[in-house]
Subunit: 235 residues, 2 copies
């Protein structure tokens, strides 16, 4: 039986600063363990210098989040969302972010809006420079700031859960490589900010949702191409 990977980092075993659950989640989300890879409890226990018990608890949580699949008496495996699930999750994402944009337009009154304004400025600069990586990071910030501005913790919690299920960062990197998408995306962000500034919650919600729909279409297109060229086997 071969080990799932080489020993990760021998010196990293010092002490667990961050909660075990987050470290495990990052391990799955980062793609260090590709979809379908097994996650044996004993191996992870040795890797993190704990016993199986806390590992088990964390894996159950990850299963609940939809990131791994536990086949009883067989093992735990990294789960690959189906295409249908991705479509569904994007629909949900549009709904939640649209809701957030509407709430933002109704409530927010100052500092939160400034964050969005500065973000759009920085994004424009990144687009001018053609810096796709920076732009991708700013997109992340934009959406997070928007959710935060809705001032609804339960919404934030569900949103975070949703994004984990999407393994979003794994996807968004692909969409920014689509030609022309950057400019459109930036314009959409600007429209959303404008609607919030105008306190037009209907327009804010509608524009936000359309934006997510466009980004969803882009990601799905990129995914289709990837499947066609079979990139997955290359890694």
């Amino acid at each position: 039986m071969q080990q799932p990977t080489e020993a990760l980092r021998p010196d990293d075993v010092t002490v667990d600063e961050t909660p075990l659950l987050d470290r495990l989640r990052k391990l799955v989300l980062s793609g260090e363990f590709p979809p379908g890879a097994p996650l044996p409890e004993l191996f992870l226990a040795q890797e993190f210098n704990v016993s199986r018990t806390p590992i088990r608890e964390a894996l159950k949580q990850l299963e609940n989040e939809g990131l791994v699949e536990i086949r009883p008496r067989v093992g735990t495996f990294v789960r690959q969302p189906t295409r249908r699930e991705i479509v569904e999750l994007f629909e949900l994402k549009g709904g939640l972010e649209g809701l957030a944009a509407g709430l933002f337009a109704r409530r927010s009154s100052g500092p939160e809006l400034d964050v969005l304004r500065r973000n759009v400025e920085a994004s424009a600069a990144a687009v001018r420079r053609g810096d796709r990586t920076r732009y991708a990071a700013l997109v992340h910030e934009f959406h997070n700031a928007l959710i935060a501005g809705a001032d609804n913790r339960k919404l934030s919690e569900h949103y975070e859960r949703l994004m984990n299920q999407l393994a979003y960062h794994r996807l968004v990197l692909k969409s920014v490589d689509q030609p022309g998408r950057l400019g459109f995306s930036l314009k959409e962000h600007e429209s959303i900010v404008a609607a919030i500034e105008a306190r037009d919650h209907v327009s804010a919600e509608f524009t936000m949702r359309q934006h997510v729909e466009a980004s969803s279409a882009t990601v799905l297109r990129a995914l289709a191409i990837e499947v066609a060229t079979d990139v997955t086997t290359a890694s």
Copy 2:
């Protein structure tokens, strides 16, 4: 202690057909353990004839769902949502159900819509008879059917989670006691079904969201009254 006449039947003690997690959740949601009550692992383990380990796993899940609070080294307690959380959850509920209504109006084409139609008819009959209990059950069915009709499993999952967090059934029973609410509620349901029949997804979403907002206001009003008269101590 045990009867000598009856032979020992090991699996007679518990017929744990349903997963432990669901049974525990029901225990919390049913109000059998009131908010604030402790849930000692050892006690539950004896109650369900298992060891602490599976109980622990289930409690961790319930904490993740927001139903209980685990205070480290102290104990696990039934969690009482704050008023603010209830407001937030209703906002989310409106967003999700609105989204579902919109999707329903776009996609659904037959049997799912019939379910809604029959539900509205039955609800009208219940209102005529003044049967509040029956009406409350039909309201539940209506919302579940609507979510199901959206044909989006991820949406269903998040919705179920949300409703558990709301401990909704504990709340809805209070709202149906508000005078006049039944008639309004029924009319709103009829409007939603009409919008879906007309395939008007914008109207379906808008109407649905307004409906949730109205029901939210009713529940919050009932809650305020309850707090004022301090009913909680009477139970």
